[in-house]
């Protein structure tokens, strides 16, 4: 896997609207799947029985699975936390379930994940120092239990997740504790949860240097194209975000000159591709006018083509960043990235 890398999100064992072949065509090296969703439906034991998630979803490149923690904690009143883990009710049918560090490892193993994430709490923002400290320390204890629970024979990598909210000293304590346990890679969790971008960058600036440079550093759930290039500046190796796929389904498309909303009437008779600077399948073959027509007509192909373009945009951007890093021209690449956006008149 070449880094820095962006991981398309395939929540339910499919990157919404994308064939695996199309993902490969646009250079996806790895996808992220959600443990919580697959645990509930179709169930991890079923996926194991059918040969694992790779075979199930017809994807032969790496898969990273999250721990299920993020979704479970998002359930609000439907979950109860204690030291052992989280009891929660399914958003699908209200059935009661428990996820613990041990069961999260077992589920991710059954799915056949290549990169397993430790079970933690993604702390909401804002949160009191007291809450953040207690939650972060519990996540650290859970991380230790994850490392003990994951069987080495699976061959999967296990990543620890630095928490600590927006408190630098708690971030530092989390990182030190995790490093003492020792993981194959380190994620920074609890960012992009509603804080200002400047605060997010501040936390990255502070946290990333605490993590070993010879292990992958992954900032979870981030972010915009701007966040990606700023993240790479700060040493991030891995990203994931629903933004390109979810925005696509809402008709919001990424271009070198910024975002456009394809539903706008101005695109109704526009023969241009989404982005004249883009070489993707969609931009080579379809006009904005056609894409607007598909979107307004609620056609399946609207989601398919918009997702293809947006993921291509993200993956292509990461490819350009990797090339610039290899050639020592990253600073110029970053400058050009922002210059194009600022000089935008083309849309």
């Amino acid at each position: 896997m070449e880094t820095p890398v962006f991981m398309p999100v395939g929540t339910q064992g499919t990157v919404k609207g994308m064939l695996p072949e199309a993902l490969k065509e646009i250079g996806a090296q790895i996808v992220l799947a959600n443990t919580y969703h697959l645990f509930l439906r179709p169930g991890h034991e079923l996926v194991r029985k059918l040969g694992g998630l790779h075979r199930f979803m017809h994807w032969d490149r790496p898969i990273l699975t999250d721990s299920g923690g993020f979704q479970v904690f998002s359930l609000g009143d439907l979950r109860r936390i204690d030291e052992d883990g989280v009891r929660f009710q399914s958003h699908l049918d209200g059935a009661s379930h428990v996820l613990t560090p041990e069961s999260s490892m077992a589920v991710q193993e059954a799915l056949g994940s290549d990169i397993v994430m430790a079970f933690d709490e993604c702390i909401p923002y804002p949160a009191s120092r007291e809450y953040v400290a207690a939650s972060t320390d519990r996540s650290t204890r859970w991380a230790r239990r994850c490392k003990e629970a994951l069987r080495p024979q699976t061959g999967a990598a296990l990543f620890g997740i630095v928490q600590g909210g927006m408190f630098a000293d708690l971030r530092a304590r989390s990182a030190e504790d995790l490093l003492r346990i020792g993981f194959d890679g380190y994620a920074v969790g609890g960012l992009s949860v509603g804080e200002d971008a400047s605060l997010m960058y501040e936390m990255m600036d502070f946290t990333l240097p605490l993590l070993p440079a010879d292990r992958p550093r992954y900032v979870m759930g981030v972010g915009t194209p701007e966040n990606l290039i700023e993240g790479v500046s700060r040493g991030v190796d891995m990203f994931d975000c629903v933004m390109p796929t979810r925005n696509a389904r809402n008709g919001v498309l990424f271009t070198t000159f910024g975002k456009i909303s394809i539903k706008q009437a101005r695109y109704g008779d526009d023969p241009q591709p989404i982005d004249p600077d883009c070489g993707c399948y969609v931009c080579r073959n379809y006009s904005r006018a056609y894409l607007r027509h598909l979107y307004m007509s609620r056609e399946i192909l609207a989601s398919v083509l918009n997702t293809h373009h947006n993921l291509h945009y993200y993956l292509n951007l990461m490819g350009e960043i990797r090339t610039a890093l290899e050639q020592g021209t990253f600073a110029a690449c970053k400058k050009e990235f922002f210059r194009k956006r600022e000089s935008a008149v083309g849309a």
Copy 2:
């Protein structure tokens, strides 16, 4: 174009869920687009301005357009017929429009259709002899106006449509009248509108021999795989139907041993492909269990993969029929088709 041929339906300028490349991969030779829908949205003049429907939807093989009549007449209370044409209200925004033989030709011309259908009334079933006779004669007068209106320089073929309801003598009169006007091909309309299959076959048996064998004979809106093979037996060259695409979106899949509903719990852990005898992309790479999971999870890929399989089934069946016709083995092919269905235990 090789016949007999099945035409996938691309109502709004897209065969729902299918990329044009995927359509070609499974052997689609021609698609059908709906004049009524494209007239209302995005508008035929817009499509013309953008280079025609082929370019708009990125499809470089033939396109047949219907006349708009079928949809307009389906609007019930929202339309009023007179000798000139039909005044109707858009199902999208209630706006008032008129379609006449002349405007239907103009719209189909603007779309850049390769095969233009005459503007007619698709008579509902059941209908009184009096209604059928009057409607059919009006459709004949409209067909004459269509022939006068369509400009020869478009290079498009114009098909007349035999009506006459379920009355053999009115079918005969319609066919004779149309033959006298002279068209590039002849369709049989007003079938598969709720009548028993035996009555539909009776009407085909009666009507098809009245049409010239050296011109394409097209039975509109038909039908099931069984209807296709029975239709070919009776001399039909062209078919279209939403059945493979619409059923796909509802999780109903066609196989050599009959239809299956992928939502059934029995497929939840089934590692088999939809149809072990099928060589399509979906059957080569995905299990029934995965397809059920996608369907239950309301994933976009459910529609994409199910549509791919169902259209492959239809187009492959037509390919087998063409080969059998060439080799003089059609009777055996038809027998085998029904034998597989009757001996089905596999699902």
